[in-house]
């Protein structure tokens, strides 16, 4: 009796697995697949997934929409960094550090926030993505330059790394549109 029940159970399990798989194909969201498919083509899958999913619009976005969400994340991350830079400047750092901080503030403000981000948004929304490619690459460059300005004693390593990573994920998504 027990062996019969066992065989039936195993048979049922296989049925359930089979059902589940086909259910999966029908029930899984296209957009999840798009987000995953897109993020697999970026240098930082986890960052890409968490950034995109933090914005509810990502569920219904096409690749251009996903790129725009990432640009927004870049903007937020860069703005946060700029605020951090400003507070560091106000805490009376040594002249050498202060000089590097001022340089960074300039790069973040004039480079990323008022140039790279608006250009990327306009390029993506108006349908000429190559300018977004150049600008997101530039944003990664600015973050790197800021970091290098401290010759090893950077108080901004976490911020710069973050901005760099976000910029490079953004650029990878933009490249899918070219």
């Amino acid at each position: 009796m027990r062996t019969l029940v066992f065989i039936v159970l195993v048979y049922l399990v296989f049925q359930i697995i089979f059902l589940s798989s086909s259910q999966c194909a029908r029930l899984s969201s296209n957009d999840d697949n798009l987000i995953e498919k897109t993020c697999k083509q970026t240098p930082n899958y986890n960052l890409c997934i968490s950034s995109l999913k933090s914005d509810p619009k990502s569920a219904t976005a096409d690749v251009t929409g996903l790129a725009l969400i990432m640009v927004n994340v870049l903007n937020t991350t860069a703005t946060r960094t700029l605020i951090h830079i400003n507070s560091l400047i106000h805490h009376s750092p040594s002249p050498k550090i202060k000089k590097a901080l001022l340089s960074c503030a300039d790069m973040y403000y004039s480079g990323i926030i008022t140039a790279d981000v608006p250009v990327s948004i306009e390029a993506l929304t108006k349908g000429n993505p190559k300018f977004a490619d150049d600008s997101t690459l530039d944003a990664a460059k600015e973050a790197t330059l800021c970091e290098e300005g401290f010759s090893g004693n950077s108080p901004l390593t976490v911020d710069n790394t973050s901005v760099n990573n976000v910029a490079r994920v953004t650029e990878a998504i933009v490249k899918l549109l070219l």
Binding site: S20, S21, N33, A61, E122, N128, P129, G149, T157
Partner: protein
């Protein structure tokens, strides 16, 4: 070429999420989760079977808590997580800088460069076209009309980065001395409110002028629009009118709304119609579409494609024009015939480079067949910074003239600081190279010579292997240099063969010594050579004993600044038997243009020194080969400014 476009083009999926099961709460759906549910069910069923000898098929899904727990324990292995933890922030290859270049400044402990006003203002060119300030990109609608050369361009009136694009306008009687005019067209219609983008001019035989250009509509759809001069008797063509029934063309079926831009100049064919070409893509295949019209207002798309190449992506700024197989002059865009080849040119969106291929155009069937069936997209116009280029036929001097957009290779932050970005290349004449038959020759228009001031000649200067020779000239930032080089024959013969493949981009620049190269000039160098831009020949001897010549521009030590491009650009140079090696260089502050072997190979570079500027800039000859001695003869002219300024009516 009877390819037809597919009728449907499947866009990327972006539908709403599918409705879920009995519960309203949203949660991520994963195949694995359901498989795990089935495992849970098995356990449950087993438990039930063991205790009660019965089972129940249950879809009783245990929500969230179980989901999280399950997900935590079994991440689906089909998802790859290539997380690159960037600890030390390196600019890397993605920013166009090789790791190697940082080693050069290792002992300086490179600090990101604080640009000062003196360094930035030096960068502005003296005799290349650029607006007084702000951003410029593609050349638009170049033409000759009533004694004036007209030049239009993509312009941002609001900043030094791309955006808010409108049409700038300038005129000149000689392609060198330009006068700025008011903006020709702004974004004031629903069909170009998101961008007045690139277009081309067609001058009709009756003297009318037709401008076809791309507009980005209020919904960001790329459409083609018609514009024409408000007053044809105004030689300066200051005011323009947009056709009341624009747009004249929408993206056709199968073409994405973002893949339809940059119409060419039209050509007239024996069936009494005007035709123009426009680039696009289907999936990843770049294509050129052709339309025909009688009045520039209504169009028919031709079946078939003029050209297509798989895996090249979007084709921008397509250009299509005839070159003569014999005579050394240009041809009107409508010319066809047995003595004519046609150039099919495209700009590649995904690598920002311009390519062309030569072939034969049959105007009766509207087909173009490349001379080399394996040419694909073709060869580069220019191995450096040169994009969105466009030609026009100058009927005054019977030549075809090429314009090219030369962007910046510094950071956008520096562009914002200096308040401008981009220049145009010096206009070049384009001719078929009748000696090789397989490439074009590009050469600065002869009017450039009128800028030559004092000249200095150096005759047969010997530069031994491993040496640098300073050239004593007045100033080194605005120069026209014509140089010839000869290697000693002995070294050429005795040098061993090598099977190592050489390319400028993959080399270590001028520091990489070979038996027969590199040798050339060090431009925009300071006295101590802490900053220098080598432009040089490199000769490789292949396994067949044949010599292959390359010309490279090495930016790796061009500046102590760390936010500028440090790549080595260059390409192969066809050199025929008994030819001396020759190069012409135009140096104009932050732009250097190299024209090798009469224009067979061209390289445009942007250089941003911090020290080798103004009076501190020097010029040297160098020979970093290990074996060969090089003998050079050069002529060097100081170049006058073109004094480009706004037009002032008298």
């Amino acid at each position: 070429m009877e390819d037809t476009l597919p009728c449907s083009y499947s866009p990327l999926p972006n539908g709403p999420p599918t409705i879920e099961g009995p519960l309203d709460k949203r949660r991520p759906r994963k195949k694995a989760t359901l498989i795990i549910f089935s495992g849970l069910l098995l356990l449950l069923a087993l438990f039930v079977a063991i205790t009660v000898g019965d089972y129940r098929n249950s879809h009783n899904v245990h929500e969230n808590e179980n989901d999280e727990a399950l997900l935590a324990t079994s991440e689906p292995s089909s998802v790859s997580i290539p997380s690159e933890q960037v600890h030390s922030v390196s600019r890397g290859v993605s920013a166009g800088v090789s790791e190697k270049s940082n080693r050069v400044f290792a002992d300086h402990n490179a600090i990101s460069y604080p640009w000062n006003n003196s360094m930035l203002s030096w960068q502005r060119t003296s005799f290349h076209f650029q607006p007084e300030k702000n951003w410029m990109n593609d050349p638009n609608g170049p033409m000759f009309y009533k004694g004036w050369y007209h030049f239009f361009y993509q312009y941002n009136p609001n900043g030094a980065v791309w955006g808010d694009i409108v049409w700038g306008h300038a005129v000149s009687t000689d392609l060198i001395h330009w006068l700025h005019l008011p903006l020709a067209m702004v974004a004031d219609q629903w069909y170009d409110i998101n961008g007045v983008w690139t277009g081309s001019a067609t001058v009709l035989p009756n003297g009318e002028v037709v401008m076809l250009y791309t507009g980005s509509t209020n919904e960001s759809v790329q459409v083609q629009n018609l514009a024409y001069p408000a007053n044809l008797s105004d030689p300066l063509l200051i005011n323009w009118v947009k056709y009341s029934d624009n747009p004249v063309l929408l993206p056709p079926p199968g073409i994405n709304k973002n893949d339809f831009r940059d119409p060419t100049t039209a050509w007239y064919t024996s069936d009494g119609k005007w035709k123009f070409a426009i680039g696009s893509r289907v999936n990843t295949t770049g294509i050129t579409l052709v339309y025909h019209t009688k009045d520039f207002k209504s169009y028919e798309r031709l079946d078939g494609l003029l050209h297509s190449v798989p895996d090249t992506g979007m084709w921008e700024c397509v250009d299509f024009y005839p070159v003569s197989k014999m005579a050394g002059k240009g041809l009107d865009t409508s010319v066809t015939g047995p003595g004519v080849k046609h150039v099919m040119k495209t700009s590649l969106d995904n690598d920002r480079q311009d390519y062309y291929a030569l072939g034969i155009y049959d105007e009766k069937t509207d087909t173009w067949v490349p001379d080399n069936p394996n040419i694909g997209i073709g060869i580069r116009y220019d191995y450096g910074m040169f994009y969105a280029s466009k030609t026009f036929y100058d009927e005054q001097k019977e030549r075809r003239v090429l314009w090219g957009w030369i962007g910046e290779s510094d950071s956008e932050f520096a562009d914002m600081k200096k308040g401008w970005a981009s220049v145009q290349g010096i206009p070049r004449t384009v001719l078929l190279d009748t000696k090789t038959g397989s490439n074009l020759l590009q050469w600065p228009v002869e009017e450039v010579d009128s800028l030559r001031l004092s000249g200095k000649e150096f005759d047969k200067v010997e530069v031994k292997a491993g040496s640098v020779v300073p050239l004593d000239i007045v100033s080194a930032t605005q120069l026209d240099i014509v140089a010839e080089f000869e290697l000693d024959k002995e070294a050429l013969e005795r040098t061993a063969q090598s099977n190592v493949e050489f390319s400028c981009g993959n080399s270590r620049g001028a520091a990489q010594r070979g038996a027969l190269g590199p040798f050339g000039l060090l431009i925009l160098a300071d006295e101590s050579l802490s900053e220098q831009t080598p432009v040089y020949f490199y000769i490789a001897k292949g396994t067949d004993g044949n010599l292959t010549t390359f010309f490279c521009v090495d930016q790796s030590r061009s500046s102590e600044a760390t936010d500028v491009n440090k790549q080595i650009h260059g390409g192969y140079v066809p050199v025929l038997k008994d030819e001396k090696l020759s190069v012409r260089l135009l140096v104009d502050h932050s732009i250097v243009e190299s024209f090798v072997q009469g224009g067979r190979t061209c390289i445009t570079s942007r250089i941003y020194p911090t020290k080798a500027i103004y009076g501190a800039a020097r010029l040297f000859l160098f020979n970093n080969a290990t074996e060969a001695t090089v003998t050079t003869s050069l002529k060097i002219w100081q170049m006058n400014s073109a004094f480009i300024h706004p037009f002032r009516a008298k």
